[in-house]
Amino acid sequence: MKRGLTVTIIFQANSLNYVGKIGNIIEIKKLSRNNGNTYTFASRQCLRYDIVRLGNELFNWKLGTVCKNGTIQFTKDTTIDKSEEVDLFGYMITESKSSAITRPATVRLSHAISIEPYRSDMEFLTSKGLADRIGEHPDPVNIEQHQSFYTYTVTIDLEKIGVDKKTNSDEYIVLDNKERAKRVNQLLTILKVLNRNIRGRQENLSPLFIIGGVYDIPNPFFQGRVDLLTKGGKYYINTDSIKDTLELTLFDKSIKENTYIGLVSGIFENKGEIEKILPDRVLSIEEFFKVLQNEVKRVYGV
């Protein structure tokens, strides 16, 4: 049985995740690399937040019930049959003097890390409009800005979706396969249209390039292997690393035959080259998700 779904995505957006304030500068989350450049990133926690937000908005996902006893956390009766959120992203329910009840996430996300280096772009703004009304000085603020392509990876443990051990019992909650397939496919639809509301903007995280599939061995094959090249102000998908990954076999199981690519035309210059490395399986984003969702239905036999 195929047990692992993984996709690696490229999207384009402006600053997505802030650390906080240093003086009057609002800083973005960043990391440095060996090549001396700085890159910005949106943490997996913020991606999770927006996926669940959209699940609730689009598919009426029930958000896990939350309480505050010492800390803010899910209530004990938040179980996977009642909440899509805890089925996909797990929970930890703690209690004094006993060990925590946990469910590991069945859907895991990487940080969305920018592909283009951060070059200290800033946005300057003030509250002049309001300040003028009362003859006060405006409060200026600097916000770090980074318009870039970003990449992140999603993995889904298909066998574990919709299956959870009941608290203090040896029994399991097992949802029927139709519901399991439905949840995975709703999640895929969310990834297709993902967006994030941040500082008054709505950033579109919808994939411009996506590669992945459903595999016998759960392994994030394309994580760290999707990259862009720039030449003459134009963007190219780095096909070398993808080609090498596709040729990889793990225990004689080929990755290539289960892999699809989806892309938006007109963004990357080397669509022709990409089509050559995966003939007939380079699709539009819409088609990519359709193929993957049918594959998910096949895995669950619905």
């Binding site: 047990r3 692992g4 993984t6 650390v19 906080g20 989350k29 960043k30 990391l31 440095s32 690399r33 060996n34 943490s43 997996r44 926690q45 006893n69 010492g70 800390t71 803010i72 956390q73 930890m92 703690t94 209690e95 004094s96 590991p104 996430a105 069945t106 895991r108 996300l109 990487s110 940080h111 890390i113 990876t153 993995t155 443990d157 066998e159 574990k160 061995i217 759960p218 392994n219 994030p220 094959f221 994580q223 760290g224 990889l248 793990l250 225990f251």
Partner: protein
Amino acid sequence: MRVLKLKLFQETACYKKPFAFKTWETHPLPPYSTVIGMLHSILNAEEYISMSISVQGNYESKFTNFQSIYFYKPKEITKMPLNIHLLYNVNLIIHVRAENEILEEIVFGIKNLNEHLSLGRKEDLVRIDEVKFVEVKEIDIDELDDGRKIECPIYIPIEQLPEDVWGISYRLNWKYKVINGLRQWEKINVKYVESGEIISYDNFLQDEEGDLIYFNTPL
């Protein structure tokens, strides 16, 4: 001697140091207990399975993520945002020595995984790049003209540390016994030796692909 060799990649990972409470600092490589935990979960082990491992690898850089962490206080459980140190682009080479049957079971376990592997925290995903058996042999240092350069940062237990090799001391968790409901850890003193150091006095183990090996427990 035939051992199992795993090549792994992690885009980001935090191998937390045991007493790092105010910020989650990370070891430069996963400690033995972390690796053994992953192998035991591949084996679906319910008790300790005897094995010996060698850990080496490199990372590109380190960065921090500000993130909510749960704490157990005597009377309650609280949540507080903390800085988490993360390694970026980690490549690992792990050698495992055990009974042949156990090594075969690890391979079977990886072929039949029902979830994506992690190493460190649950969210620190692992990309498995290679799983293979390799032959190990001892290299006689006297047969080498210029000694052996360490190409890849590696943990070397101090009993096995070559005389003129320098490294950073770590006391790594290895395995535990539960005593009065608490984990009592067996520790191993190692040096984290960075690339560029040269071994010129002692014999060492090397696999058929030319990678060094220093097992955490004696032969």
